[in-house]
Amino acid sequence: MTTIDASGPLPRRALRALAALGALAVVFGICLAAVRLTHHGPNDPSSSGAAQGARPLPRAAAAPVTSLPGLAAPTGDPELPSLAGLHPRRGAAVQAAGPFDDRLTLADLRFDGKAVHASARVTSDVSDVLEFASRAGFYDASGRLVATATYTYHLDEEHPDAHAETPGGIPSEVKVFSIAVPAEARGSAVSAAVGVTVLVNE
């Protein structure tokens, strides 16, 4: 029977073999560390969900999104389609439907032959009105729409009294306005309609 004798020095060839094996093992450990350092685990956005496959590392986008394919550029200020379907009687000033009617009440409507007058009270919000626009239609004796015109309000933050009440103690959430009959309709306009086309609160 052969016995294992561990006593005494190892021969040179055996020592070389041991050294090589040991070096290989250390290299293995270092490679394992390198893999852990660079592996993109499931929590890294550059790794994919199982359904998508591998994806490249994320790249920062430096450019803002400024292209909107398929969107036709507007040619002017908004119209109020509901004006075309109204035929107010002589001397009347009526409200035309608009996209923000659930946010305001129009009151004090009147037509004096030269202009239509109204007040709009914003009921949906109490912060400053940033933008307000109303569109008026003017009608002849047969009820035909003959002209339109617009009133606009824009809160100018640069103005020192930007957040103050308007003269007469009118709070900023009420817009009192008048829209004059355009020149081409003077003499023929006998009634008016008005609606709100733009409304933005802060």
């Binding site: 052969t2 560390a33 890294d44 550029a73």
Partner: protein, 506 residues
């Protein structure tokens, strides 16, 4: 001899291999974001950020947080946001039109910001003028962190209790010279700003394109939840569907989506608007459970659903960036309504809890809570006292013991209540007086049972300074990897760098 060699070789190999593995184990798992992790590995976080949830209490100043804590949890209690480990404060100033950035020769600060310029600060990292969105003070479009995240492969979400075209949500997914250019239609008055651009821009320029048109077409946010249905039209709905969005409700017929619609929603891209304007305050929904508005989801519900959509399904594994806004804190502070303000702050904090619960489970999420500005000078006054607004004159300002300390315009007397301006707690005996400047009073958890809101026995007395924004710094709270960068005093533009760094965008 041979067996001795074999045994020795095997032993040496095992020792060497063990040393190699031990070396590998000792090294960090990954090169994570800059800075050490704020939460230890024992808390389930090893420093890697996969998601960022950014919660914004619009108008939420220091006192809004304090008052909500006292109201709902008592003096010894804490809101969810107050339990986050990192605390700081955020400077919010904006700049004038055409100003340079801080440090530039043409730098002109404006000490009181609005929501638009504040949103641009954290979304794009630049100071700009009030009303500007996604452009610097000279009108140049700048990328937003949500655009960058989206283009880098993250899923993105934008949730608000305001119209989704309003400043805070729009600051992440649009570029506009003026926040009033919201839609549904373009108008020169609301969209152009020749003070900045010199000449009117062509209507093909994105900076004068109604924000609703941009949101419906740029695909920047995958999940969009909030209000503002009236800003969108049928063409916008078609554009959304063509990009693969699941559209809740109907834009073309102006039919708002409901909580039920939200609960049933699925997919990678969801567009849901639950009111034609801003969403309804929680107080009204609570007091009117049968009203149509009660079908609107709350901010915590929208936050929870947004997280599930962004973290699961087709978005799973991508990581996400989600912005959540509690907008009605600001809007009801403008109204000086403390009762509504408190409930909106509580709802916002409940949304924060939803985000934190997810972050703690996930282990790789940075949560940031802050505000854009303070609104209305909200304050807590001592029980039984009164404010300047209730007084006949300002306080006395003399020092009889050392007259050198007197103020320049001497007021030897004053600081008495004016009965016409202070007719009892505004939510109590003085409720019917529309010119009443008295505080609103609220019971807290520390009050004896039977103490009512609106009574002088209630311990929490709340007042407002004005109906507008103030220039005070606002609180910042952070949880998760990289959150230590939020500690101390930061500028609101720093938030862009912090989020961008966390997501490895910059």
């Amino acid at each position: 001899m041979r067996k001795r060699t074999t045994a020795a070789t095997a032993a040496f190999a095992v020792i060497a291999a063990t040393a190699g593995v031990a070396t590998a184990t000792a090294l960090p798992a990954t090169a994570g974001p800059s800075g050490p992790a704020a939460v230890t590995a024992a808390a389930g976080n090893d420093g890697r950020v996969k998601n960022v949830i950014y919660l914004l209490g619009d108008g939420m100043g220091r006192t809004h947080v304090d008052a909500a804590r006292l109201r709902y949890y008592g003096a010894a209690g804490r809101l969810a946001m107050e339990q986050m480990p990192v605390v700081g404060q955020n400077q919010t100033y904006s700049v004038e039109k055409n100003s340079g950035q801080p440090g530039a020769a043409d730098f002109k600060p404006n000490f009181v910001t609005d929501s638009a310029s504040a949103a641009t600060a954290w979304a794009s990292g630049v100071k700009t003028y009030n009303a500007a969105l996604g452009v610097d003070a000279k009108g140049t479009s700048v990328p937003t962190v949500m655009e960058m995240a989206k283009q880098a492969g993250y899923a993105t979400g934008n949730v608000s209790t305001a119209e989704i075209t309003d400043a805070t949500p729009a600051g992440q997914m649009s570029h506009a010279l003026a926040r009033g250019c919201q839609g549904p239609s373009y108008s020169a008055a609301s969209c152009q700003d020749t003070t900045v651009t010199g000449q009117p821009l062509p209507t093909t320029d994105v900076r004068v394109t109604p924000i609703a048109k941009q949101i419906a077409r740029n695909g920047t946010a995958d999940v969009i939840l909030g209000g503002g249905l009236s800003r969108f039209d049928g063409a916008d709905e078609q554009a959304l569907r063509e990009q693969g969005y699941q559209v809740l409700g109907s834009v073309a017929s102006q039919t708002v989506a409901t909580r039920t619609d939200l609960e049933k929603s699925s997919g990678a891209k969801v567009f849901g608007l639950f009111n034609r304007g801003n969403l309804t305050i929680e107080k009204f929904k609570r007091e009117n459970p049968s009203a149509p508005q009660a079908a609107e989801p709350s901010l915590p519900e929208m936050t929870s659903k947004a997280i599930s959509l962004l973290d699961g399904g087709k978005n799973a594994g991508n990581g996400f960036y989600l912005q959540v806004e509690g907008a009605l804190i600001d809007k009801r502070s403008h109204a000086n309504d403390a009762a509504q303000t408190l409930e909106e702050t509580k709802a916002f904090d409940d949304a924060v809890k939803v985000a934190l619960d997810f972050a703690k489970r996930d282990g790789h999420t940075l949560v940031i809570v802050t505000a854009d500005h303070e609104c209305a000078g909200f304050n807590i006054i001592e029980k039984g006292t009164f404010t300047n607004a209730e007084a006949a004159a300002p306080p006395t300002n003399v020092d009889s013991g050392n007259t050198a300390n007197n103020s320049s315009t001497v007021r030897a007397s004053g600081n008495t209540k004016d009965a016409t301006r202070s007719t009892g707690p505004i939510n109590g005996s003085g409720a019917g007086n529309t010119k009443n400047f008295a505080p609103a009073t609220f019971r807290t958890a520390d009050d004896p049972a039977g103490v009512q809101d609106g009574s002088t026995d209630a311990s929490l007395w709340l007042t407002y300074l004005s109906g507008n924004h103030t220039g005070a710094d606002v609180p910042v709270y952070g949880y998760g990897p990289g959150s230590q960068k939020l500690a101390g005093t930061i500028d609101n533009t720093d938030l862009f760098d912090i989020v961008g760094s966390a997501l490895r965008l910059s």
